[in-house]
């Protein structure tokens, strides 16, 4: 965005402080969205952004919070610039705090470009539809809810569930097969605990991923309003590395719930009319300005794939945070408490999970030609088995037919053999599909209605063993 007045202007006219907001008087030509530096009495510098501007007053949100600021001694410096982040390939392997300061003790970044952190929308005409299969090595994802390059696929989880382990495992294992392309991980932590952050960093270090990643860490103890900024820094970096430097970037953001809390805090401080559960009415649009910064562009080699993690308050998927997210992202992976209690890792419930881009990412030359039909059949089988389980709970097992028992057994096997796997177990897509076939082979062929006869002939274990 262009901002015309390049001259910085200083004001000492703070008239009010409320929550994360500063009200500055007499600011005539302050631009909307301008980047602001705030100098506190002790000389420390904080930064912020203009949320509202008029002849009389400007409203500034302070990312570090307003604690310790006073009316009399605070200097507000309007820079005449939007908030920018300095990027170059030097950022790879580095660690930043939530507002983009180097915190790994290394030298400062020598910038190649300084980019507006708010980015610009990608022209829909310029987008290339995602079609490249990403193998995560996790069967419940690869087999049933396939991820592709340029997709935004969130993990919907709950407190105390192993979403971090799953995300770390994906970060370790994710690859596009048969390619030697430049792959990069960008990790943005929003308000997570020190332990969680350490877990991720250790896990990246172990697998050697740390040297090809960029980390942005805002911890639970760090200022909450900074969380508005952190994902934007991560995505600005991602856009630069993907579209200028041809990297394939996987962005993991955790935990988006903390981001939404920060958004609500600002909205409340501005006394806006609240939407559902006190979250601002524009939360959908605001979340879209993060999630939509994903994808591929025609004529560019790089791509951005996004995997945000959010913990659903009280496991409620209709809560505004997962609900609005689900409307923007291209599917969702659901981490389920009941499966977790039964000791299944990863406890991914494939039934409500979804990958909208799966259909284009699988099949011949991508995964395998039987993938679509096999996953449909597995899905049908598991859904049938699960609904029978509910029936058994009401009327008991005796009333079931032989066919019903078959489905019940297969659903159990599906959870234990297909969904369940080790934290360090990396399955190729062929292994995943073959496990699926093994489970289905307990059914007579007439039950496999979603699979064509041709495919059965070619891939059914009983046929294949005869051939070999």
């Amino acid at each position: 965005m262009t901002i015309k007045s390049i001259v910085a202007r200083e004001f000492k006219t703070v008239s009010g402080i409320s929550g994360p907001l500063l009200f500055v008087q007499g600011t005539k030509n302050v631009a909307y969205g301008e980047y602001v530096e705030i100098v506190a009495q002790d000389g420390s510098v904080r930064h912020g952004q203009v949320l509202e501007t008029s002849f009389e007053m400007a409203v500034v949100q302070v990312f570090e919070g307003t604690g310790g600021l006073s009316r009399e001694h605070t200097i507000v410096r309007f820079t005449g610039e939007p908030l920018r982040f300095a990027v170059s390939t030097d950022v790879i392997g580095r660690m930043f705090n939530g507002s983009g300061k180097v915190i790994d003790g290394g030298p400062p970044i020598i910038p190649k470009e300084k980019l507006d952190v708010n980015g610009s929308p990608i022209n829909p005409k310029s987008r290339a539809y995602p079609t490249d299969f990403i193998q995560t090595g996790i069967s419940a994802i690869d087999g049933m809810n396939t991820l592709s390059r340029g997709q935004k696929l969130p993990l919907f989880s709950g407190n105390g569930l192993p979403h971090n382990e799953i995300a770390a495992q994906i970060a370790r294992q994710a690859k596009v097969r048969k390619t030697e392309e430049k792959f990069l991980l960008i990790f943005a932590a929003l308000g997570i605990t020190v332990d969680e952050a350490r877990f991720f960093i250790n896990s990246f270090e172990e697998s050697g991923a740390l040297s090809r990643s960029v980390l942005f860490i805002n911890l639970a103890q760090d200022p909450a309003i900074e969380r508005i900024l952190t994902p934007r820094l991560a995505l600005t970096t991602a856009e630069y590395l993907a579209f200028e430097e041809d990297y394939h970037v996987l962005v993991i953001i955790t935990d988006m719930t903390n981001y939404c809390e920060a958004l609500r805090e600002i909205s409340a401080a501005r006394e806006e009319v609240p939407g559902r559960r006190g979250y601002p009415g524009y939360m959908y649009t605001d979340l879209a300005s993060i999630y939509e910064r994903t994808g591929r562009v025609i004529g560019k080699l790089g791509s951005i794939t996004q995997m945000p993690i959010l913990t659903m308050p009280n496991d409620d998927i209709t809560h505004p945070i997962p609900d609005l997210t689900g409307y923007i992202t291209e599917g969702q992976i659901i981490v389920d408490r009941a499966l977790h209690r039964r000791g299944i890792y990863p406890p991914i419930d494939v039934l409500p999970s979804l990958s909208r881009l799966m259909k284009e990412a699988i099949g011949q030359n991508k995964t395998r030609e039987d993938h679509r039909e096999l996953s449909d059949q597995l899905y049908y089988m598991y859904a049938e088995g699960r609904s029978l389980r509910e029936l058994v709970a009401v009327i008991g097992e005796e009333a079931l037919t032989e066919r019903d028992h078959m489905y019940l057994r297969a659903a159990d096997r599906f959870e234990r053999e297909f969904v369940s796997q080790g934290r360090y177990e990396e399955r190729s897509i062929e292994q995943t599909l073959d496990i699926g076939w093994n489970i289905l082979s307990s059914f007579p062929e007439s039950e496999l209605k979603r699979i064509s006869l041709n495919t059965i002939q070619k891939y059914h274990p009983s046929k294949r063993s005869k051939v070999s």
């Binding site: 901002i3 509202e52 599917g331 859904a383 009401v394």
Partner: protein
């Protein structure tokens, strides 16, 4: 609208997409203005004394108080003329292809290319001659706009009530700016006509009168065509939680609906979905003509991270374009995905104006805005001295938060639309697509349209009623099974369950991505219903005579019903007769077995 001396205003305050300006004495409501030094486009949405409130169609970062506001004297309008088809525009009709050339793959601010190409020549064939009397809406001649729309009518502007052609060009190639005719309106007022007109997006284009809707909009989707049909000129809503397939449904309808022109509005949805349409539609063939579907399609894309005020405008932009083609006498289908995002844009702007909020923070005028929008649909006799009919069918997706249909946008929409396709999360989770719930959905056109169907398929309505009845009965029987187990059912009841299961899985379920199943023509649809009904009615006789349902079910021809949807449309008639024959033989052999 005459250009008077226009006085610049001054920006007083900037809050997100809303700008407050002073010194705006001569401004009119909904006038287009240029805001700030970058001259970004905005629209006046409130006037108080000599100050005005403006919603701005681009990001306002960097705009500051004190910058000028330039009035244009024009209402926010769209360009209408040949060259609309096959294009993709943003919410205020900026052509995204041209933007891409000008500013790269990120959309930059303050660039306003012409919506229609100015240098392209169109082959104009006049049908009027000098001396002909014309009135508003009369067709002067035709242009071949695309292979699927051979006759793009160049019409007399609705504001010209009466006139006489004093000049008209020969057949030949002209750009849209070139004068092609002169109309003498009397009183020394001679209007020069070219092929481009402008129309303000918030004002419905005039028509002669509305007429009744009795023709179905054939969609190739079995559950819609048979159970919940929509008429040409009708209105429908598709509410559903995320993942229930609203967008896939809208894409299916945009592909297969038998309209002449499709206007598809991606309103606050995903960028990749628009990319998908742009990639797939040029490859997909129209089932009737075999030509690529993109040739009849106009896309309006204002995805979720594009400016919110332009999202608000996008549905009016789309509707005005739809009305333009309707006025030529075409059947237009307009898809809006999703009207909830449009309503949210209204809510955000209303919030910035500090208006008194209504339900869930939406402005109090939400439901009247929704009603106004759907009222622009319909079948009508259009302007012109010849008798021409055109229609606009509107299909709006609704995204209720938490899939709760009691929220204001869904409820306000249901009050005005006549077809309700309720998408069901539990069906979607079972991967039953299209996930239209057959018990809660309805179509108020069904009875009228049955008369049309009866002309071609005599017992169409008998079959569809039978299907609905069986599905209803299934619901009751499942309730019994849940309470006391399946053993409590009689064989007849088991047969009904089996029939209902076949209707659901073998008929209602339709695979959008299977080439043979994606589009089901009416003939195939009808034959499929006939086969299922035949199976049931014949089996019932057998069950009455003591044969178990499981035995009937294991017959090869009965099993084959499960795969019939994958038989292509053109082969289906032959398939129908052969399967009917086999069903007959198999079932009668069972009957014979009992006797023997």
């Amino acid at each position: 609208m005459l250009k008077q001396k226009l006085k610049f205003g001054v920006i007083k305050k900037v809050v997100g997409p809303v700008v407050f300006a002073e010194n705006m004495e001569n401004i009119t409501m909904y006038e287009m203005v240029k805001v700030g030094l970058d001259k970004i486009i905005g629209e006046v949405i409130r006037i108080e004394g000599n100050s005005a409130v403006i919603q701005v169609y681009e990001d306002t970062t960097g705009v500051s108080p004190g910058e000028p506001v330039e009035p244009t004297g024009l209402l926010l309008s769209v360009e209408l003329g040949p060259g609309l088809l096959n294009q993709i525009f943003d919410g205020i009709q900026r052509p995204l292809t041209v933007l891409e050339k000008d500013s790269g793959f990120f959309i930059r601010r303050g660039i306003y290319p012409n919506a229609l190409p100015r240098n392209k020549k169109w082959h104009f064939i006049p049908i009027k001659k000098v001396g002909d009397k014309v009135i508003a809406g009369d067709i002067l001649g035709y242009v071949k706009e695309s292979p699927l729309l051979e006759r793009h009518a160049i019409m007399v502007h609705p504001q010209i009530k009466n006139g006489q052609i004093s000049y008209i060009v020969e057949e030949g190639d002209y750009t849209i700016d070139e004068m092609i005719a002169k109309i003498d309106c009397g009183n020394n007022n001679v209007v020069e006509v070219n092929m481009i007109t402008r129309w303000p997006i918030r004002r419905p284009r005039p028509i002669k009168r509305r007429v009744s809707t009795y023709l179905p909009l054939i969609t190739g989707q079995r559950i819609i065509d048979a159970l919940f049909p929509i008429a040409k000129g009708g209105t429908a809503a598709i509410p559903g939680g995320f993942g229930t397939g609203k967008t896939v449904m809208q894409h299916q309808l945009a592909q297969w609906a038998d309209a002449n022109v499709i206007v598809y509005i991606g309103c606050g949805e995903r960028g990749n979905e628009m990319a998908e349409v742009l990639e797939r539609f040029p490859e997909l063939k129209d089932p009737r003509s075999g030509l690529p579907l993109i040739n009849r399609t106009i896309l309006i894309a204002n995805v979720s991270n594009m400016p919110i005020a332009a999202r608000e405008a996008s549905i009016y932009t789309g509707m005005t374009i739809a009305e333009y083609y309707r006025d030529m006498g075409y059947d237009v289908a307009l898809m809006a995905d999703s009207t909830s995002r449009w309503a949210e844009a209204l809510r955000e702007i209303s919030g910035r104006l500090e208006e008194m909020p209504g339900e869930e923070g939406y402005p109090a005028y939400l439901s009247s805005r929704i009603a106004e929008f759907y009222e622009r649909a319909g079948r009508c006799e259009v302007l012109g001295s010849d008798e021409r009919y055109g229609s606009i069918s509107v299909i709006g997706a609704v995204s209720p938060p938490g899939a709760d249909f009691s929220e204001p946008v869904t409820q306000s929409t249901l009050r005005v639309v006549k077809v309700f396709w309720a998408l069901d999360t539990s069906l979607a989770q079972r991967r039953h697509f299209p996930a239209i719930n057959w018990l809660t959905s309805y179509s108020l056109y069904k009875n009228d349209l049955d008369l049309w169907f009866a002309k071609y398929f005599p017992n169409w309505s008998v079959l569809t009623k039978e299907f609905m009845q069986v599905l209803q009965e299934e619901e009751e029987l499942i309730e019994i099974v849940r309470l006391v187990g399946p053993d409590a059912l009689s064989e007849v009841q088991k047969l009904i369950l089996e029939y209902a299961r076949k209707i659901r899985e073998d008929y209602l379920m339709q695979h959008a991505y299977s080439p043979a199943d994606s589009y089901c023509d009416l003939k195939k649809n009808y034959y499929m219903m006939c086969l299922l009904s035949y199976f049931y009615n014949e089996s019932k006789k057998l069950v009455d005579s003591g044969i178990q349902v499981s035995r009937i079910n294991s017959l090869p021809s009965v099993q084959e019903l499960g795969r019939m949807k994958f038989v292509p449309n053109e082969e289906f008639e032959a398939f129908y007769f052969s399967l009917l024959e086999r069903l007959k033989n198999d079932l009668s052999s069972l009957a014979g077995g009992v006797k023997g």
